[in-house]
């Protein structure tokens, strides 16, 4: 029988379960994700930094975990170099696994990375609690509830924790894309590298305006965008050049901030593979197109506060929150969801095409001048 442990929530509710990861108490913000596949991708997604992730799909660990392999600076199967979540909460753990591409069990992997995991939890009940009360602070404890104090990850600059520390370069294509790493998922890099580009990945607070580049990409990242004022200032400066800018998730929030908008914390965020978004119906280029998207964010752009030069690009069909913005005249746009997927549906990959196209278009137009 596995060791007993407890999930303690700030509102006084406790859930007892069993350990299948590293045996160390942790504290963080408890969030839920409704995806039914993709735990290796989710756990290594830097946007989860500071969070204890509850998976609503009850059976987890079925296909084990693939090998941790880095090729040319990119993880082959993960979304970053390590597990990013603070802890993992599930209902039913598959002690054994079966997949040709797996090299270890989920539990072994968690232990390796010193991340605790708890199973035997009624994750549906936990989700309902979070839904009613909003995101909750919580901790996973082994012996007594006081082993560790609650902590609030949104008070800290999570981006600074997960961003790269030095400038990294990838690929050898002809166009240069500066990628501001707020906690980038490797699949954004993989997606960009399918085009004729080279990527300069810079830390979140790096002044990339000193660099020569063709397009700017602002990555996803964890926590409250308020902590990234430096990045916003840098983006504002970049906007003056008129060069194409694209953002994903945190990138959407930072671009919106650069465009004058404010952001706010959602009650319990969007985390899952089934979030429906619609292209702004007023925006008639392709008609009222709808997409199923992969999402992972706790903050959103308050669209009412966005500057006049901007317009809403995508809208969440369930709750009407902002899912993307674009500049009315310049090649700046961003999405709150994850077109790179991994994990999740791949329907909006075309946004990378749009970004690259805008770089090409920008180049031709400046050449003409």
């Amino acid at each position: 029988m596995d060791k007993k442990l407890t999930l303690v929530l700030e509102n006084g509710v406790n859930f007892d379960g069993f350990s299948f990861g590293y045996e160390k108490p942790v504290a963080g913000e408890v969030v839920f994700n409704t995806a039914m596949v993709g735990y290796p991708e989710s756990l290594t997604d830097p946007s989860y930094a500071g969070q204890i992730l509850a998976v609503t799909y009850p059976l987890v660990g079925n296909y084990g975990v693939p090998e941790d392999k880095i090729v040319d600076g990119l993880s082959e199967f993960y979304e970053s170099e390590k597990i990013q979540v603070t802890g993992l909460i599930i209902s039913e753990y598959s002690h054994q696994y079966s997949h040709w591409n797996a090299t270890k069990s989920l539990g072994e992997w968690l232990k390796e990375h010193q991340i605790p995991g708890i199973y035997g939890i009624d994750t549906r009940e936990l989700t309902k609690l979070i839904r009613e009360k909003g995101s909750l602070k919580g901790k996973i404890v082994f012996n007594s509830p006081d082993e560790i104090d609650f902590s609030d990850p949104s008070k800290e600059n999570q981006v600074a924790k997960v961003s790269c520390e030095e400038v990294l370069r990838y690929g050898n294509g002809s166009k240069t894309v500066v990628l501001v790493d707020c906690g980038v998922k490797h699949n954004i890099l993989r997606c960009l590298l399918r085009y004729d580009v080279n990527i300069v990945r810079v830390p979140w607070n790096y002044d990339f305006n000193t660099l020569e580049y063709d397009g700017l990409f602002i990555s996803n990242g964890p926590g409250d965008p308020e902590h990234c004022e430096i990045t916003v200032r840098n983006i504002r400066k970049a906007m003056e050049t008129g060069k194409p800018i694209c953002g994903i998730c945190m990138g959407n929030q930072l671009l919106a901030k650069a465009g004058g908008a404010s952001t706010y914390k959602l009650k319990y965020g969007h985390r899952g593979h089934n979030q429906p978004v619609q292209e702004n119906p007023a925006y008639g280029e392709t008609g009222a197109k709808c997409f199923i998207t992969s999402q992972n964010h706790g903050y959103a752009v308050d669209i009412k506060t966005l500057g006049e030069d901007w317009e809403e690009l995508f809208i969440n069909m369930n709750d009407g929150t902002n899912e993307g913005i674009r500049h009315k005249t310049k090649p700046f746009f961003s999405a709150q969801f994850h077109p790179e997927a991994a994990s999740g549906p791949t329907d909006t990959r075309f946004l990378f095409d749009k970004f690259i196209e805008s770089i090409e278009k920008h180049e031709t137009s400046t050449q003409k001048k």
Binding site: T34, L59, N62, D122, E125, G272, G287, A288
Partner: protein, 1071 residues
């Protein structure tokens, strides 16, 4: 654009293997969607027992065959603006394609709504399909046609071994097989070329995973995948024969989304508007895949996906056919979020097929690439162990889960694992018990190790429980673990008490003990969004893998629970779903909350719209008690769901559950043969002589007394399982060996068998012992054909007034004596005016929807009101006032059951039924026979007419055939008899004779349009000439009759009526 005001929807006709109740659900949903738009709906479906053919579901209902001829007639009359083809299975689709090709839609300006017909054709025609997917670089399974062994080798080289070889144009898989290398191919090809001039060489994907996606697309090109599913059984076993889980369990994110992306690419390229199913073969050691097929229509899988996710696929597909966009529709569970989303499940579902192969003579129990199962169950839970064990109980074939079952006799486990039968999952349990490793089982079955690991968990858990000998000893955490792994209380006591009789007695003690420890199931909602948004959903299941209930209980005793029918199987199918739905409707109309318990994904009763609360869960005493204790209902109805709920009467009553209607004790008085018989004796009602016997000697003595033939059966079973007529001592002895295996607890019942007697049924409702309404119907066939297979005429056409009077008198006496309140059915034998009672069921019967719809009086509504305590006035309209006739005919699925003898007996074999109306008897007979797939012969009829009695039955019919210009081919006996009676015929030789013209050859050459083959003997199964002719008729798709009275009725009907002049009348036009 054309304004759509009136829409014709094609149903799927009678239930058959491969096309069952799922289409009642799809069609009903579509009609509901149309109705919401104010569209006038017209439905063609001869399946009278369905919910979709009930009053108020469609505006006009035609109980007519779904064939181009009749559909055109209806179009001509109704002039609909649009037609929906994708809600009635393959039957509707094929019919629609034919009508499209012959230009009928164009002629009458009928718009095909939803997916264009060309897209359907692109998916149905293998060559077009492969070509179409090639265009977008999607891989399909290709076969190469070869005409020499040399070419076969080069084809195999090209495709890579292993390959499958199929002999083209050969029936029943003759000459087909797998080859792993050149030598095997050489051997097989040599053999195969002796059957056929052409072989198809195909890459073998045996052992690959089988994965399905349900995809939806609207006319704006917005796409979603609603659900994916993974087969537990790897490729090689038809998905209808496989255990299936949703969502997939062994796919990574990359794999899941690769296949999802392909599915969307495919649906866009094909141009589906609505719903579509994509089936993949998926490699187990790479991300390689092949598309197996695409169904551009609602399917069994889409019904399953709807139930698995709560996403109403058929409803949405119908709206999309009316040009809505997905974004314009709401999620019908949350009612606040959009229908453009993909359900997130926070549970796992498991579908398990239900086979009834034991009902057929000569059929192989091996399962493979063709479908043989007759129904399915779906279990919901939060661990695989939980759902598989729940599901195996739901199948209701005497198994208690994965373990703790009666041991199977398996001669060769290795073989039983690698050549799967309907019992394979239990062979796995046995293999584990015999010490097989899961790796070895995997090698033999190719079932993914993940599933086997989970099964092993169950097995190991059972071993832990077995270490204890009393309930009190069993550690609490082990008990909890067992419940989380889906063990029933009974399974646990069986393990503790080592299968002794005590196990059954102790299960209630275990329940008490378990409750005292607080180990209780919790109720969870299916809300499509994994609790992300609040949903007022009433779609529920129970699980031990959770700590809190999702719903609150009012405890106001204003709810009434209805127990559903469980899996469709031979003897119990859509008719009980109709009964359940009508009971629910009445309960709700009367101001109560209707609560449904059922687990059959192919039904309307498990549509969460139909009730106030739906528990998609087991119909076992344990689970029903769990729900009763939570719901605390006013009462429970168990007489509208067939035999499964009926069997729970005594135990639920003992547990104090308020059963509405006839008391459990009286139900038992009818079910228990001894009690019932002595009651009849007391009332002076006659019955065939019978005796319950347990030794051969006693049986012989009894048979000496009553004489052969005798009917032999075990007591207390549904639809005559393991029942047989024995005509001589040898047969009797043979059969007894079989029957005693069926149920050791119950001895064998032997009854006298009365030949050439009429069989009459009464369906009725009584209130406190007094009859409120009744319907008497008469079988066309003589007794000996199971009532579920017989052709039934209502009102009766050929009964003496005195017979009717006596039947009413007997019925009154029985109702009074059993104090019946609610629905019941009695079956009688009548010879002259001599009436004997053969069976009495204090529940709704198979024919309730039929008589209700013909008489236009809803027997279930009346029964439900009576059970709720309403005083119901007796209606004055009598069935004998009707100016029209209803015929209920049976649908057989013998073509799906290779080698089965297509002959009728006391054991039920039909898989479905139709009910048609006519202004006279022959019109109704003709419509009903055409509805079950019979065709009017063009020229040649083959007759072998059996006994002298049946020869006489067929004489007038034969003469009519001759007069109508038909050529009769007759076997020697029949030929002689016809000649003696001046009916010309051509003599044909038996298959065993090497002379021409030979019956078998004529059938194979398709020279015969109708086969009438009456067995001489009451015992089927022997490989006689008769069998060969009957089987050939089935295999070559030639209409076959094996009952002289029915054959005669059909022949009279088509000889005396001109199809062109047949009245096309909707249900409401019969007044």
């Amino acid at each position: 654009m054309k304004i759509i005001e009136k829409v014709l929807l094609l149903g799927s006709g009678a239930l058959k293997i491969g096309e069952a109740g799922e289409f009642d659900y799809s069609g009903s949903q579509a009609l509901k969607a149309l109705k919401e738009e104010g569209i006038t709906t017209v439905l063609i479906n001869p399946n009278i027992a369905t919910v979709q053919t009930s009053e108020g579901v469609a505006d006009k209902i035609y109980f007519l065959p779904v064939t181009p001829f009749f559909v055109e007639k209806v179009i001509e009359k109704e002039r609909p603006d649009g037609i929906l083809l994708s809600f009635g299975g393959q039957t509707a689709l094929n019919c629609g394609v034919e009508l499209y090709r012959s230009g009928i839609f164009e002629k009458y300006n009928v718009k095909v709504l939803g997916t264009p017909v060309q897209s359907i054709i692109d998916t149905e025609d293998r060559e077009l399909f492969v070509h179409k997917l090639d265009e977008i670089g999607v891989k399909t399974i290709k076969s190469i046609a070869v005409e020499s062994i040399e070419d076969a080798h080069s084809a195999a080289e090209e495709l890579g071994f292993p390959v499958i070889v199929r002999a083209a144009y050969a029936l029943g898989g003759l000459g087909s097989g797998f080859c792993n290398d050149r030598d095997e191919l050489q051997a097989l090809a040599e053999k195969a070329f002796s059957y056929s001039n052409q072989l198809l060489i195909e890459k073998s994907l045996k052992g690959w995973k089988e994965i399905e996606y349900e995809v939806v697309r609207d006319r704006y090109d917005n796409c979603i995948t609603v659900c994916n599913m993974e087969n537990f059984d790897p490729l090689g076993i038809h998905t209808g024969e496989s255990i299936v889980v949703a969502p997939s369990q062994t796919l990574t994110n990359q794999e899941y989304h690769k296949l999802r992306e392909l599915a969307i690419r495919i649906i866009r390229h094909i141009g589906v508007v609505g719903e579509c199913n994509v089936q993949y073969a998926f490699d187990t050691v790479s991300e390689d895949y092949r598309v197996i097929e695409v169904n551009a229509r609602l399917s069994r899988s889409s019904a399953l996906a709807s139930k698995a996710t709560g996403y109403p696929l058929a409803f949405v597909a119908a709206k999309l056919a009316l040009d809505y966009g997905l974004n314009e529709l709401k999620n019908s569970v949350t009612k606040s979020t959009t229908a453009f989303f993909e359900p997130a499940l926070d549970y796992i579902v498991c579908k398990i097929p239900r086979w009834d192969l034991g009902k057929f003579h000569g059929v192989s129990h091996e399962i493979g690439s063709s479908m043989k199962s007759v129904g399915e169950v779906m279990s919901i839970g939060r661990s695989f162990e939980e759902v598989i064990q729940k599901g195996l109980r739901m199948i209701a074939q005497g198994m208690h889960g994965f373990v703790a079952n009666k041991e199977l006799e398996v001669a060769n486990i290795d073989r039983a694992l690698s050549e799967p039968t309907d019992k394979r999952i239990f062979v796995i349990a046995q293999a584990l018990a015999k010490g097989y490793t899961i790796e070895r089982i995997h090698d033999l079955t190719k079932i993914d190790l993940w599933f086997l690991q989970k099964l092993q968990n169950i097995y190991l858990c059972s071993g832990e429980i077995e270490k204890y000998n009393t309930i009190e000893e069993l550690p609490e955490n082990l008990l909890k673990k067992a419940k989380q792994k889906g063990f029933s209380d009974y399974q646990i006591t069986k393990l503790i008490f080592k299968n002794s009789d005590k196990a059954s007695e102790e299960k209630l003690n275990l329940r008490k003990h378990r409750k005292s420890l607080g180990i209780l199931p919790v109720v969870k909602q299916i809300d499509t969004l994994a609790a992300e948004y609040p949903a007022q959903t009433n779609y529920l299941y129970l699980t031990y893998n959770g700590s809190a209930n999702d719903v609150n209980y009012l405890g106001d005793k204003r709810s009434v629970i209805v127990l559903g029918s469980g899996a469709y199987r031979i003897g119990s199918s859509v008719e009980f779903d109709w009964c359940s739905v009508n009971a629910l409707n009445t309960i709700r109309e009367k101001g109560w909350r209707g609560v449904m318990i059922n687990y059959n994904p192919e039904t309307v009763s498990t549509d969460y719209d139909m009730c106030d609360r739906l528990y998609f869960d087991e119909l076992t005493q344990e689970r029903v008690m769990d729900i009763v204790e939570l719901e605390n209902p006013y009462g429970l109805i168990l007489s509208t769901g067939g035999q499964i709920p009926n069997n729970l009467a005594l135990t639920l009553d003992k547990a104090g559950v308020p059963i509405l209607g006839t008391s459990a004790a009286d139900i038992d008085n009818a079910e228990d043969r001894h009690k019932f018989s002595s009651m009849l004796d007391r009332l002076g009602i006659d019955q065939p002589r019978w005796k319950e016997l347990s030794s051969l000697k006693d049986i012989d003595r009894f048979v000496e007394e009553v004489g052969f033939p005798v009917l032999v059966r075990p007591s207390y079973v549904l639809s005559g399982a393991a029942m047989n007529v024995c005509s001589n001592p040898v047969e009797l002895e043979q059969f007894l060996k079989l029957a005693t295996n069926v149920s050791q607890k119950h001895p064998v019942v032997v009854s006298e068998f009365i030949e050439n007697a009429k069989e009459i049924e009464i369906d009725a409702v009584a209130n406190k012992g007094e009859i409120v309404t009744y319907a008497i119907s008469e079988h066309i066939e003589f007794a000996g054909v199971h009532s579920g297979d017989a052709t039934i005429q209502f009102p009766p056409q050929r009964l003496y007034v005195e017979t009717v009077r006596r039947i009413k008198r007997i019925t009154r006496a029985i109702a009074e004596s059993l104090q019946i309140t609610g629905p019941f059915n009695i079956q009688f034998l009548a010879k002259d005016n001599d009436i004997k009672v053969i069976e009495c069921n204090l529940r709704a019967s198979r024919s309730f929807p039929f008589v209700s719809k013909v008489l236009k009086r809803n027997f279930i509504e009346i029964a439900t009101r009576v059970m709720l305590g309403d005083e119901v006035e007796k209606p004055n309209k009598s069935e004998f006032d009707l100016d029209y006739v209803g015929i209920k005919a049976s649908q057989f699925s013998f073509s799906r059951l290779q080698k089965a003898d297509p002959v009728l007996g006391v054991d039920m074999a039909s898989t479905g039924e139709v009910g048609c109306l006519g202004d006279d008897y022959y019109e109704a007979v003709l419509k009903s026979m055409l509805s079950v797939g019979m065709r009017i012969p063009k020229k040649n009829v083959l007759i072998s007419s059996g006994t002298i009695r049946s020869k006489l039955d067929l004489l007038t019919a034969s003469r009519l055939l001759h007069e109508k210009g038909y050529t009769i081919y007759a076997s020697s006996g029949s030929h002689k008899f016809l000649s003696e009676n001046n009916v010309p015929s051509i003599l044909v030789y038996q298959p065993s004779e090497d002379l021409k013209p030979n019956a078998l050859e004529l059938i194979r050459e398709k020279q015969i349009d109708l086969v009438v083959n009456i067995p001489k003997n009451l015992t089927p199964g022997e490989l006689t000439n008769g069998y060969k002719i009957r089987r050939a008729a089935i295999d070559f798709n030639i209409p076959l009759f094996t009952n002289s009275r029915l054959a005669s009725a059909f022949i009279h009907a088509f000889c005396e009526m001109d199809l062109q002049n047949i009245p096309i009348k909707s249900w409401d036009e019969y007044k």
